[in-house]
Amino acid sequence: MKKLKAFAAPYLVWMAVFIVVPLLMVAYFAFTDEEGHFTLDYIANVGQYTNIFVRSIWLAIIATVICLVLAYPVSFILSRMKKHHQGTMLMIVMLPMWMNFLLRTYAWMTLLGNNGIINNLLGMIGIGPLKLINTEGAVVLGMVYNYLPFMILPLYSVMVKIDKSLIEAASDLGCNPVSTLFRVVVPLSVPGIMSGVTMVFVPAISTFIISRMLGGGSNLLIGDLIEMQFLGNAYNPHLGAGISLVLMVIILLIMTIMNQFNPDDQVLI
């Protein structure tokens, strides 16, 4: 065992240098002013961006729920398929991820545009043009589209381990399909739901490029706000660090609460 531990050393060094030190620096910047004196001003100032926080959390929750609703049946069907079909189907799920994230989002801009493909098709059957792009809906769509595979994969890997005989036993003992789902399948797949939700919610809440490209710049999210502090006109890394820190605390709290619902006491974050 001791020998095995040595193999973890490279990651330990990596973690210390590239994760712990930067985190400490974020905290340092958040709690100091330009002269390096301790201050709580920047953290206190985060309060004025409340509506942006609320909007980000809200949109991320909607996107996560939609992802879960879409991904759950897909993963279940996928896990019940013949083994060699599963591989092909999984590849199809992964396929969009082979292409660059920016390009995929950029493609949605042309699809959703006022003169875009969707509006042109709708126009042919006499509907529209609808206002599709530059709305909150478009931002949620972008999140769902980009992060759906992150929900499907953990769900699938948990569900594939659910023994078929358990489901058969449930129906033998008089469970109808609905109660089989809710009393057998769902409880067994909770760890997958947890990690799927984490993997979608966390990037969705901090995204900035999706909201900028599909939200038309008037649906600011926290990610945009943080980016503005570093690359915007008012170069203010202290406020940027303050916002990042508050965001981190919020995510951490939400994740801790979610972990409490995990029956096996598994810690997923």
Binding site: Y49, V54, Y106, G113, F230, L231, N233, A234, Y235, Q260
Partner: protein, 430 residues
């Protein structure tokens, strides 16, 4: 100027599609394209003449290299017929290697320099950023003995407002901000178009606006008769209110996307930089460009040497090289912005020289345009705050207690679950 991320991106998509097509069809477009590029490569085999060979060859054989940090797509790469690959020519002539990298915004450049860790020898920021950097002592004063070609710079651009003694910068390009609009959709005669069209409710949802507080505030300040360099809190607030009014008719706040959206007829009207606008006009003949009569912002991008440069003389040589008439012409031909270089201006064809969009004349520039200078930290901060507020404004005013209360509820919930679990675990023991 500004960021050019998206156009290369677009090119990548096109290229991907092209390869896809030619791969599937096996013939056609792909091959034709190749033939075309090789042809242009042959025809650009052009020789460069410089004023003073000895000056340029003095560092030869010392194996020097300089780091140049410039906007994307902002230097001639020799792909157009009759132009030169500027960086390659410089290395060929002087033996100095050029490490060339790009940035997308002035703020990115600033953050990079402030952050430290890297050094650059030549940078090309815009006017207001130059004055900010001068104020913060981030630029090296230039030794103009090493830049004899500075004499080519037109008098209008010497001693500019952002560098009053002209000690730190050599102008590279300039241009004005105007309105690009779709002539089939907008029936106002060209000479009557002014900035207020961006507030016109008849064109609601067809208007694009700059996603950059400095440029957006400038438009609203010009309309209200303020200086675009105002630092007065009252005037800034008034300008922000004006922008807030505009929000209802704006389709999107964008920068580079203006290019694609206007070309694809996704919007009818947008403010844009003259040089880039000319490029769009070539793509879509329904579009036209006008510089509003009530005045506009004149922007200048100039070459500077940042503090921390390790090869200052070589950097000055590079700046001087960029001011060689042939090189300046190649660059301006590639970028399509206006040139402050008299030699390059002479070499332009007559049509371009008489184009009122690119070269509106000195009288016009003096009377109707203003250059950005750096604002005080307070004014910058206020502008940024007002801008964020404007962009994130919703109908109801947010309660700033929502987040803390939310956090408290989360914390309470967590403690509750922990206690419940603790009790349960205790029960399990027995």
């Amino acid at each position: 100027m500004k960021n050019h991320i998206f156009r290369p991106l677009c090119a990548v998509i096109c290229a991907a599609l092209l390869t896809g097509c030619s791969g599937a069809a096996g013939t056609g477009s792909g091959t034709a394209e190749n033939a075309e590029t090789s042809e242009t490569e042959e025809s650009e085999a052009q020789t460069l003449t410089v004023s003073d060979m000895d000056y340029y060859t003095r560092f030869k054989g010392q194996n020097l290299s300089i780091n140049v940090y410039n906007w994307g797509e902002y230097i001639s790469t020799g792909t157009d017929a009759g132009t030169l690959n500027v960086n390659a020519e410089f290395t060929k002539l002087t033996g100095i290697k050029v490490n060339y990298t790009n940035y997308a915004t002035n703020e990115e450049l600033y953050a990079k320099l402030k952050g430290g860790g890297t050094y650059y020898d030549v940078i090309i920021p815009s006017d207001y950023m130059i004055s900010k950097m001068i104020k913060e002592d981030m630029l090296e004063p230039l030794n103009f003995d090493n830049i004899p070609n500075f004499s080519y710079i037109m008098p209008t651009f010497v001693d500019p407002a952002y560098d009053p003694d002209n000690a730190y910068s050599v102008p590279y390009t300039w241009g004005t901000v105007g309105l690009i609009y779709n002539t089939t959709m907008i029936d106002i005669p060209k000479e009557d178009i002014d900035w207020d069209i961006l507030w016109n409710e008849d064109y609601a949802d067809q208007i694009l606006m700059f996603d950059n507080p400095r440029d957006a505030f400038a438009i609203s300040e010009i309309m209200m008769g303020y200086s675009i360099n105002t630092e007065d809190p009252v005037e800034l607030t008034a300008a922000a209110n004006k922008l807030k009014e505009q929000k209802a008719v704006v389709q999107a706040y964008v920068m580079d996307e203006i290019f694609d959206k206007m070309a694809a007829n996704d919007a009818w009207i947008a403010p844009y930089y003259a040089g880039d606008a000319l490029t769009i006009l070539e793509d879509n003949e329904d579009l036209d460009f006008v510089v509003p009569k009530s005045g506009t912002n004149l922007f200048v991008d100039a070459m500077c040497i940042p503090k921390g440069s390790r090869q200052k003389e070589a950097a000055e040589m590079y700046i001087n090289f960029m001011c060689e008439p042939d090189i300046a012409y190649s660059n301006i031909d590639y970028i399509c912005y206006s040139t402050p270089h008299s030699g390059a201006y002479e070499m332009l064809d007559e049509e371009t020289r008489n184009n009122p969009v690119s070269y509106p004349g000195n009288d016009y520039l003096d009377e109707n345009t203003t250059i950005f200078v750096n604002l005080s930290d307070e004014a910058n901060l206020q502008m940024q705050t007002l801008w964020t507020e404007m962009k994130s404004a919703e109908n109801e005013t947010p309660n700033r207690w929502i987040v803390p209360v939310f956090l408290l509820i989360c914390l309470g919930l967590m403690i509750f679950v922990l206690i419940r679990r603790h009790i349960r675990n205790k029960k399990d023991i027995y």
